[in-house]
Symmetry: C2
Subunit: 375 residues, 2 copies
Amino acid sequence: MALLNYGNPIRFEFGAVKHLPEALAKLGIVRPLIATDAGLRAAGLVERIVDTLDLPEPVCIYDATPANPTEDAVTEALALYRSAGCDGVVCLGGGSPMDLGKAVALLALSGGPLDQYDPLKGGNKRVKEVAPLIAIPTTAGTGSEASMGFLISMNDGRKLTFVNPQFLPKMSLCDPELTLGLSPLTTAATGMDAITHCIEAILAPSDNPPADGIGLDGLWRGWRHLRRAVEDGSDRQARWEMMMASTEGALAFVKGLGAVHSMSHAAGRLKSLRLHHGTLNAVILPAVLRFNERACARPYVRIRQAMGLPEGADLAREIERMNAAIGLPKGLAAMGLSADLIDDMLPHAVADLSTRTNARPIGAEDYAMLFREAM
Amino acid sequence: MALLNYGNPIRFEFGAVKHLPEALAKLGIVRPLIATDAGLRAAGLVERIVDTLDLPEPVCIYDATPANPTEDAVTEALALYRSAGCDGVVCLGGGSPMDLGKAVALLALSGGPLDQYDPLKGGNKRVKEVAPLIAIPTTAGTGSEASMGFLISMNDGRKLTFVNPQFLPKMSLCDPELTLGLSPLTTAATGMDAITHCIEAILAPSDNPPADGIGLDGLWRGWRHLRRAVEDGSDRQARWEMMMASTEGALAFVKGLGAVHSMSHAAGRLKSLRLHHGTLNAVILPAVLRFNERACARPYVRIRQAMGLPEGADLAREIERMNAAIGLPKGLAAMGLSADLIDDMLPHAVADLSTRTNARPIGAEDYAMLFREAM
């Protein structure tokens, strides 16, 4: 059992979810809103967990979280939170319910509209209080249980990143058991999300050696166990290691992320396509690794070492090989994204928070080239 | 500039010490006790820093901290703290002023005697409040600025380790500038302390992968820069990297330490000898690495990689080579410790907190053998 304490307390073990009643009691939550999605509800996971709670009233569940959660969904969940008199949030799911739940916890106590909290426009000064929030990840990729960020697709078409220490869950329960039933494709896509977090965090130019160390450890674990977890979803050790790589990815990206995420966010906001964030990261990563290489000689040496690759190995090529081996699409075109959308995505990629921490300065022309390469 | 936030806020940069007035104001300290030692006072460092403070009264300085600080010295410093009406502590120095200052901050608000806080005897329940404390390391080894522990040589001959999250400094200022004037010998001995922290933390069997990653990063930095810092004390990059390795060592040893520290503590409590903690660690480390090897196949692979050594390299031999290259003694005998003291040290090593987290179960007979080997 691992008790991690880097910013927020994380109980990490098989069966950790059984500590939810204790966590609720500790935070004084008697009427939680469970933020989750329809898939987890249908799979019976939500009920299984809710049944373990000994709460006075029927538990309030919001299960309509869409992939890449929208401002509209946040508004809807917030209305439910308020009408039911909730006093805290339990996020149960992958990145989408986590993001949605964090937005609800913020708006519940600091008030709307959401876009006033955009950190690029001084929004952090406006964050007052945030409702207590417990995170229970059901995928191994987002790392949101250990991060102070969340993203929402706004009604005006932007995908905004919100970052504040108060957005860290007050407590997280990481239970690899919950990932045993994930499909190979979801395992692959979310796993590559975790690996991209580790890599982009290591490459981010800010000075934070402990975060570098955590990112390298996460990459070391993730790279060795992703294929195993995809090929045999019941491999408990592989599931544990992938969930740890995911948590470590988020602990590492306090340094910032980079161009892969700017591009993923710009593509992920296209509501008609509903593209999976982890899959986007996986297929965009090789192009950005080629672009960044000249600025990253030293970290690339360490990244190769963490991945167990020979000196001078072509990192982009290795990622492409992994993507193919675990069944991910070859590029953005195969995901249904056509080249005529590039012009629409460019300004969003340029304006994205992660552009500021890419390893190499990057502008609109570079992004255009990278989108074409990732097609 | 690095702003680290793993447990406590650490401002890490050349010139960080200039932020002391701001740190005092932030913590509401108007009458600090400066815990330091006679060497730093004589070198003019204490006055240089005190002169930057704009405080209403003459600053209260305790500069009689002995190496391996004693309970008596703590009592004396506490009396000064109280008589001067202090409201906080600034630790300025290596590990000894840090340990002493932490003990004073605890006793000032939670009351004595000190040994009631022994964590092996349930002492943590008795910790009430701790006075606000700012740590400013002047060596790169102890890492006390980032740790929740401190050690005191008690009047009854034991050397006790106290560990509690409240013993983390409220704020730390890591300024590699302060280490530019360290002698080659102090640089070597404290540097090997940092390296031992990283290695023993990585080997400690508790599950904390982020701490493993931080320890490996600290080892990677420390091993590459120690010789440079010893050979040219004015090498600013080497000084920065060694101080970072030291901070990372302490962040890593939340996992626990091991037999090297149990033995060092047992020897360090011998008041007549006043043995340097880092030097003890350096000369004891090879014997313990040989003893632990059979329990540590996998972490040894990663340690070798972090140190840039070939597969299967003899770690113990590499440490011995480094010790020789940086001018440290060959063994305990060369430090003035005679074999007839082993029987006296054994029970202290066995009872030491770090014995519980050694990579391989270890008892009195093992310790006797290891002390002989380290002679």
